[in-house]
Amino acid sequence: MLSLITLLAPAVGCFVLFRMRERDDADRERIRRTASAFVTISLIASLVMWWSYDTGGERYQNVIDVAWAPSLGIGFRLGTDGISIAMVVLTSVVIWAGCYVSRSIKDRVKEHYILLLALVTGVFGVFLSLDLFFFYFFYEMAVIPMYLLIGVWGSRAAQYSKEYATMKLTLYLTTGAVFALVGLLAVYYQGSEALQAQGLLKAGERTFDMRLLSQAVLSAGFQKAWFPVVFLGFACIVPMWPLHSWSPIGHAAAPSSVSMLHAGVLMKLGAYGILRLGFDILPVGAHHWMGWVAVLCCMNILYGGLVAMAQRDMKFIIGFSSSSHMGYVLLGLATVAAGSGEAATAGISGAVFLMFAHGIMTALAFGLIGWFYDQTHTRVVDDLGGMLKQMPFVGVCFVIMAMASAGLPGFANFASELLVIVGAWRSSFTLAGTGLTVPGWVPTVAAVWGIVISATYLLRAVRDAWFGPANPRWEGLRDATARRERLPFAGLILVLTLTGCFPRTIVDTIKDGVRHVMQRQEERKAEQPVHDGGPR
């Protein structure tokens, strides 16, 4: 029930907003409050789910299962496990803050919030779906509102217009999505066949139920052939190097609340998809291929960091740093290929935790950048400088964000990166097809060096934008003073530090989810496919 409330609150919000008028400022204020109210419902529901999560209990909790199109095996199936709980909480926290940050939008407020809520409905849907169809349904649904949100309310990103940026983002993500769709359908079909052969489904029946599909014993050939398809489809949105180029300009062009959601949550859909579908349903394929990811993610980490170092636009810096950080997520996921359950559990839990931490952190970053960009109308760090005098609160928050992003202990990012590193260190990665084995220390060294790089560009950005002698040009800048202006930033920092100082609050939940994924990985060793699902 809670999962349904979490999902439906923003959807209902959409309709309610649709029926509201927007004629004067009072109307706009009403719209903002309504939107905030609905996402707060989601926030509360998701926090309750988190709170009431039963570690060691059923894998999927808060399950809802309604037959939807039974002839195809589609069901409206919602539920949460340890992994999705973290993601749902992340989403609800970020959208909660995003709704506050969105107050700076003054034009076409109603449309803005409708699209924002539609977007977040999609995101919740992805994280809550236990049905392959609805997973994809919500996944694709989350991508499209982004187009309008960026295109209408966004801003120029360096030499690129917002129209270009948003088009690129949308097309890129859709490309990935439809690519993955083919893979998902193959999984659906062959998985159902296998389930029929195993006797878990009646003959001729098919199902999109991910819980069932993850029990399907698919042949190694099929898994190895199709895992890359599913993976690459989702890797676009992660984004894995070299498929990342949509993301920095997308971040840069988006209005702040959308950047928050985009970098904070949307990018996590990809990794979540890989984890949920790739690992659970195609364990052999994952084990086979993820070694390569351990190599590619080094490119994410190092290359992303280096490019960020050469950027002057604040949003681009954070944008590339996001792609760098997502490299750690990929590295954590890649530990599934390690062979050792211990290391992989650490690595994958770290990856999920990092998704959470990075989501909060980057949402904070974009919210703060949005705050000053609305006033300075520039994000180029060379033009900024000395703003701390004018906006101490925002500035301090920014420094905290930079510290968190640079992996300072006390913030969730550190704890999660540490888990990833510990996991990766213990692993070794076989590069499928070449027979080569990369020892775990290779990507780990890259990852640890990546922390150095991230500190470099972040501190430089902080120095250039905030510190230094007071700049007369920024005389009139306004700090966040009102409570509702400070609330989103303070809230995000609170989450970041709470989970950073007491990581067990969330890691234990995540680990419980990962445990099941790893169990599936262990089971695969014993499995003999009943049904050969290779291409005919």
Binding site: L306, A310, E342, P409, G423, W449, L459, P469, R504, K511
Partner: protein, 629 residues
């Protein structure tokens, strides 16, 4: 009880920092700083309690911070470990810290954001205590990072001053690079012994349960040491420390002289089993590496200190040099002596920095010694305490430095590290030279500046007096073993009993006196013409020293040209290959095909018919090609 006290000691400064940060009202009131001071005083008190508890009470209380293991095993723990070593370090942090905090109350008075200063300062104390009390490698790493961050924040305290901001950044990044090695070292040790926990690792080492080739063992050991090199500013990671003097002087005193920079040394002592050959496990060339690093740092830093004009810079290089001593001792396996020197150094170097702070405040934030002079009469307390500190530093019997430094020389001698012993002895002379130079330039002669120097208030001079007294006493006390519980921890130590060898002591004292004499002859002249002449006589040498052996410039080149060059190449790659190539080419191709395919739609009816009929023919041929029927 001990455990609770230890936790309380650890948490109290954090609490102060958090409260000060979150409550702007308190932060701006005069009570705010006192809260922070109280938290440090608490530490001083508990450290005394622990110390009185004797040399063998050990308390270890842990709490699983994060648990990544699926089955059994330790996760990542936070804990407090009260053993002789940490008791010793707690004493240093607590007492030197308290003195400096009190001093800071006076020094920072009038600063509009004094609350912010004390919040950060308390945060530092928390981080430092975390290192001191930590039970395992990951915890120490956590607090290692926190110390680095608080150092960054405090160096950059004057955030509108670009040089301060830059120095903070530099400190953080240099430490980050060193921590890169540290973390890898930790991970390697973990891989080899299967634990992060100090006790378990020591047990594994003693029992020989360490997997790994000798080369890897040495590498792991050295990587751990790299972490220490960063914090303790050993060459080549030393560049951040002199720049860090941009921070307020109490910060320089507590962090960049007394405690934080000593954390590296402390950490190596804490994990001595990663350096000391124990049982079957040998760490190869790692101890030698440690010793030589220390020696090099000691000598080079001392030489650079000779030409500094800024009083804090002189002290900073002196700190580097003294840290070099400690590291030499570590390399020689003389862990408890290193700890001894750490302790004495903390007191007298803290004292010296506070004195310099007093001087700077007195001279209205003038730091150039050549703009000082003759302060002896105007700031008598400062003068006398500085003198005490100088004597302690240069190792004049019976001041503290004498005992610890000569014991290091003895250790080097005992380990047959004669070249290093020579270097250390020479460094002692150089130390005397630059310290007396600073002393003479600052306090003797005539005042050369334009301000009106005055003595500092009581709140500042009292800590000076306290520390001066300690500088006098602590060496003897330590030598007499009744202060000094470290040996309880290091009972394995190979050189069980060390005494000050009179011959070595006499030689070193003589060299120190020579140093005094030289500086007296050069700087105790009204016009300083001999100093100028010397500079003109050896321009190349002077430039070399003035430019700090060009190491900073080299790094600058590395960062500005090499690193930024790579970054630019990556950016160009991003823009040209990834964006224009990987994305642009398929897009352009699609657009091109789209444009061309429209040509089929030429508008002419006959052509349409052609397409139609051609289509039929092609389909038919296609069918035939797929298999004729």
């Amino acid at each position: 009880m001990t455990g609770f006290l230890a936790w309380l000691t650890l948490i109290a400064p954090l609490g102060a920092a958090v409260v000060l940060t979150l409550l702007p009202g308190l932060r701006r009131s005069s009570m705010g700083p006192l809260l922070a001071v109280a938290s440090v005083l608490l530490c001083a008190a508990t450290s005394l309690i622990f110390w009185m508890g004797g040399t063998h009470t050990e308390v270890e209380s842990t709490w699983t911070w994060m648990d990544f293991a699926t089955s059994g095993g330790r996760g990542i723990e936070l804990g407090v470990l009260v053993d002789p070593l940490s008791k010793m370090m707690l004493l240093v942090v607590g007492w030197v810290g308290s003195a400096i905090f009190i001093f800071a109350l006076g020094y920072m008075k009038g600063d509009p954001s004094i609350g912010r200063f004390f919040a950060k300062f308390a945060l530092f104390v928390f981080s430092m205590l975390g290192i001191v009390l930590s039970t395992n490698f990951l915890m120490i790493f956590v607090f290692w990072e926190l110390v680095g961050a608080s150092s960054y924040l405090l160096i950059g305290y004057y955030y509108d001053k670009p040089s301060a901001v830059e120095a903070g950044k530099k400190a953080f990044l240099v430490n980050r690079v060193a921590d890169f090695g540290f973390l890898l070292g930790i991970l390697m040790i973990w891989r080899m012994t299967g634990s992060f926990h100090f006790g378990e690792i020591e047990k594994a080492v003693r029992e020989g349960h360490v997997s790994g080739s000798p080369g890897l063992l040495a590498l792991a050991s050295v990587l751990i040491f790299v972490g220490a090199m960063g914090k303790s500013a050993q060459i080549p990671f030393h560049v951040w420390l002199p720049d860090a003097m941009e921070g307020p002087t109490p910060v320089s005193a507590l962090m960049h002289a007394a405690t934080m920079v000593a954390a590296g040394v402390y950490m190596v002592i804490r994990v001595f089993f990663c350096f000391e050959p124990l049982g079957a496990v040998s760490w190869g060339w790692a101890p030698g590496f440690v010793a030589w690093t220390g020696g090099l740092t000691a000598v080079l830093a001392a030489t650079i200190a000779l030409v500094q004009r800024d009083i804090k810079k002189v002290l900073a290089y002196s700190t580097l040099s003294q840290l070099g001593y400690m590291v030499m001792a570590l390399g020689a396996g003389a862990y408890s002596i290193a700890m001894f020197h750490l302790t004495t150094h903390a007191f007298f170097k803290g004292l010296l920095f506070l004195c310099s702070g007093s001087v700077i405040l007195g001279c209205h934030h003038e730091q150039d010694m050549f703009q000082m002079g003759g302060l002896r009469k105007r700031m008598p307390v400062t003068f006398w305490t500085f003198t005490a500190g100088m004597l302690a530093l240069t190792g004049i019997c019976p001041f503290a430095g004498f005992w610890s430094k000569d014991l290091i020389l003895d250790a080097l001698h005992a380990k047959d590290l004669h070249f290093l012993q020579l270097a250390a002895t020479v460094t002692a002379g150089l130390t005397a030279l630059y310290m007396s130079r600073a002393w003479i330039l600052t306090f003797l002669g005539e005042y050369r500046g334009h301000a009106h120097p005055h003595e500092s208030p009581k709140v500042m001079t009292l800590p000076l007096v306290f520390l001066a007294v300690m500088s006098l006493l602590i060496g003897v006390a330590g030598y007499a073993h009744w202060l000094f519980p470290v040996q309880g921890y290091l009972e394995h130590w190979t050189i069980q009993e060390l005494h000050v060898d009179p011959s070595i002591a006499i030689v070193s004292t003589a060299i120190v006196l020579v140093g005094y004499a030289i500086s007296w002859s050069i700087y105790k002249r009204p016009k300083l013409d001999r100093a100028e002449a010397l500079k003109a006589r050896f321009p190349a040498l002077y430039d070399l020293l003035w430019n700090k052996y060009y190491i900073d410039d080299f790094y600058l080149w590395l960062v500005r040209t090499v690193q930024q060059g790579i970054a630019r190449v990556c950016r160009a790659f991003e823009e040209n290959v990834i964006v224009k190539g990987l994305v642009g080419v398929p897009v352009a191709f699609t657009a091109w095909v789209a444009d061309k395919s429209r040509r089929l739609q030429a508008g002419r009816l006959n052509f349409y018919a052609y397409v139609f009929v051609g289509g039929v023919t092609v389909l038919f041929l296609f069918l035939l090609a797929m298999g004729a029927r």
